[in-house]
Amino acid sequence: MQLARVIGTVVATVKNDSLEGRKLLVIQSLDANLQPQGAPLVALDAIGAGTGELIIWCRGKEASFPFRREDTPTDCTIIAIVDSDRHVTQGRRPK
């Protein structure tokens, strides 16, 4: 799982039947210092994230687990919204 920022949305009217009604978002992966890392991806939304939010996404086959896992074709799914940028810390947790 990795951190990313939601930076946009994708609209696709014609899509695989198993993606009907699902929200597609553009995300930019971030490193541990919340700096952009790598190319943007399109992710399936499992929790109701929106543009600008800091999120956690899951890659691979496990990305289909929040949905009907036997027939949802996704390799990139948003599975959590981070409370805020301040809630990502390194080293000892601040008191």
Binding site: T9, A12, T13, V14, N16, V42, G52, P73
Partner: protein, 91 residues
């Protein structure tokens, strides 16, 4: 998932039985602004009826098998959507 453009098609007669009747397309990854991201390509199985030069969503890895009609097929990339629009903030 990545955004890609359909560059062409591949025809294969002798193939795994589970690929029978499936359209094989050559796709190239795109940047968000629609420009091509490098010169690489992937062969992806079409599950939605996409056509030449369309912008599509491509799922890679074992998830590609989960698309409708792809059960147990030996594929690692599937086209699962035709893109209408991409909106994004550029900072």
């Amino acid at each position: 998932m990545i955004i890609a453009r359909i560059l062409g098609t591949v025809v294969s007669t002798q193939k795994d039985e589970r690929l029978r009747g499936k359209k094989l397309l050559i796709v190239r990854p795109l940047n968000l602004d629609g420009t091509e991201a490098g010169s690489g390509y992937t062969i992806a199985v079409d599950t939605v009826g996409a056509g030449y030069h369309e912008r599509v969503l491509v799922v890679a890895g074992s998830s590609a098998r989960l698309a409708e009609g792809m059960k147990d097929a030996p594929v690692d990339a599937a086209i699962v959507g035709v893109i209408d629009t991409v909106d994004y903030v550029n900072d």
